[in-house]
Amino acid sequence: MISQIGSLALNISGGLILSTVFFLFYYSIKKNKIFLDISERGLIAVCFCVILATLCLLNELLISNFNLQYVAQYTSYETPLFFKVTALWAGQAGSLLFWTFIMSIYSLIYINVTLKKMHELKYSSFVMLSFIFGFFLFLSNFIANPFQPVSSDIIVQNGNGLNPLLQNVTMAIHPPTLYLGFIGTTILFVMALSALISKSLTFEWIQSIRRWSLIVWTFLTGGIILGGYWAYNELGWGGYWAWDPVENSSLMPWLVLTAFIHSSMIQEKRGMLKSWNILLASSTFLLVILGTFITRSGIVSSVHSFTAENLGPLFLAFLSSLVLFTGYWFFKRFDLLKSDNKIDSFTSREGGFLYNNLILLLMCFIVLWGTLFPIFSEAWNGEKIYVGATYFNQLNVPIGLVLLFLMGIGPLLSWKTTSKSTLLSNFKIPMLVSFSSGIIYSIFFGPFQLYPLVTCMGIAFTVTSIINEFRKSYKKSKSNNKSIPSAIVSMLFNNRHKNGGYIVHIGITLLFVGFIGRAFEVEKEFNLSPGEEIYFANYIFKLNSIESEARDNHYAFISDIDVIDQRNNLLTSLYPEKRIYFYWNPDPEKRQPHSELDIYSTMRKDIYSIFSAYDAEKNQGYFKIMINPLVNWIWIGGIVMVVGSLFAFWPSKRRDYGII
């Protein structure tokens, strides 16, 4: 019954979109406001229908209605309740509905909050929203319907269940967080283009779209970092980023959105770069759709495989129409986008933001080029050529380092132009700190390596420059307030926007601390029998025992390894496991081995252990140990970035334009 309601809600939403389009068309001819109001209600009704359909599917997943193909495929009676919920986005049909669900929630907020203040954007926003909803509802209704019943000649006694690797809390939060970021770009796209079409690039508009972009950025950042965290702690290859097409697809919109957040500040302050901002805001969404196309079409081989059905051509058609639409309106309204002001000097705050944009877009281009290179090379000379991590690192690392320094230089520059004397006095202290940290680093941290040294200097430079900014605003607020705590509070809260930005920048410098560690990673693969030991990276690894245990849903071989440091002290014991899921299955093909890692994690380094195979006959285990320095700084940096962004987003009392 519930599943019929859900299915019906999905059908109705498709019909409602068609009627909305009809009323919009009618409005464009008659210009009678009533038709615009009707289409607004139509869209709101679509959103509620999609939400209803999603809740119905959720209900079916929770009650294990295996008459639905989707439910049978991704859950079983044994699947824990929590993971029955996450099965909602575990497969193609569910994830598409989930996409539309999130888009509905965003659209409801956009229609009821943002558009209430900017009526002039209504018509073109509705047209674009209808088109985008139309596409996704078409997919959900006709191509991948989650309410599809199993074929009538079979009865499913128990479902497939969710892959044990996915039954992990991080993996449960990562996809929806990333989705919230990805789908949020829809609103940026709609908002940017509708302002362009309706010729209303107002001050209110730029402030509102900036707030939207902060929300989207927060989710995108959180989603990407969570993905890396899951890969590092679950997958057992010892890294968090591999330049895989799927990862790149999430990085590209992030880079462009970050560029937009910066360049929109110039528009807010000085009325410049309007055309540029429109392009950036709409490109984030286009890149999201491009990424979806890459990951769902299988056009570029990736270790992530998402889908069985091929949605590639449909997404390509959707993407092309969006690009054409954007291009058409961009050129048609080009004269509207002229700047109110000019950039006066290389050494100005505006200049700093421009360099930032240049670098972020270069990185995006490099990632895009590398990701799509197999397609390009095949088109040119018929050979599919892939570029590896070396390519991405070789190009992006030096450019990223320039960005790191730029984060410190930016705050030292004034708007319009910075005089030579100010420049010198501003740069003095950060430069001094940067050079001394470089010297200290070279003395204490061994053999010369260029990138780690430059990174270390960059971090010192940027952190000093940001602290200096905080010190200045503290002084200012101290002169108005008497007590120290109230001065700190008013300093922090008086200009949340700016301070939030600086907190994000501190978070990014922490990420760079983690990146330094990558240059010093070492690893070793070896085999040991109980009682034996091996010396590696200044530690002794001693295998005490390998025990076996039958547990609820798997069989585990548990190793017990002592890690002994140079002074012969026991540093820690590691217990990496080799597990066999579905071990009771007579068919060995259905059994699934899984290496459960054990990580000894400190701020200085992680000792990462993998139990990769067990030879029962010889009672011998095969292990891999990795020493990964400074990885924890990445996660802390990620948290600081998200906190900073939320801090910047939180509206201050004296502003009257509300939350978004």
Partner: protein, 135 residues
């Protein structure tokens, strides 16, 4: 055109050209790796230092060295073509018959000596329905 914009565009263009040069013109094996289908490779009688191949593991072809469990050879196949792969190192958990793998390494006369062995990531699980009964 403003001087600043011109110089920025110039820098952008230079790096873009450098990127294109790196990937296209400069034949650098550490940067690029050529992707072959199994069919293409199985007809070639040459040695290539850097190849990448994707396919399925041929059932019953996995041969693990009894003395050293890290040493393995197996066949990857695609349609009717197949190729022998040799690999030494830790294998991914999902490595088993009919698993989809991506292999990168050196190719020499029908044998790929793999440096990298990846199975498709388990981010999604789209198996067939089991435990089903026909009426």
């Amino acid at each position: 055109m403003n001087k600043i914009y011109t110089s920025l565009i110039l820098v952008f263009a230079l790096i873009v050209m450098w990127t294109v040069y790196l990937t296209n013109v400069k034949n650098d094996d550490s940067l690029t790796v050529r992707y072959y289908t199994i069919e293409e490779l199985s007809t070639k009688q040459v040695s290539i230092a850097n190849v990448k191949v994707g396919g399925l593991i041929k059932p019953n072809s996995i041969n693990i060295n009894e003395k050293d469990q890290l040493e393995v050879s197996f066949y990857v196949y695609q349609g009717s073509d197949s190729l022998k792969v040799y690999y030494y190192g830790i294998r991914p958990d999902l490595f088993k018959d009919d698993a989809e793998v991506i292999v990168a390494g050196a190719f020499d006369n029908d044998l790929i000596v793999a440096k990298e062995l990846q199975t498709k990531c388990a981010s999604r699980y789209e198996g067939d329905l089991k435990n089903i009964e026909k009426i």
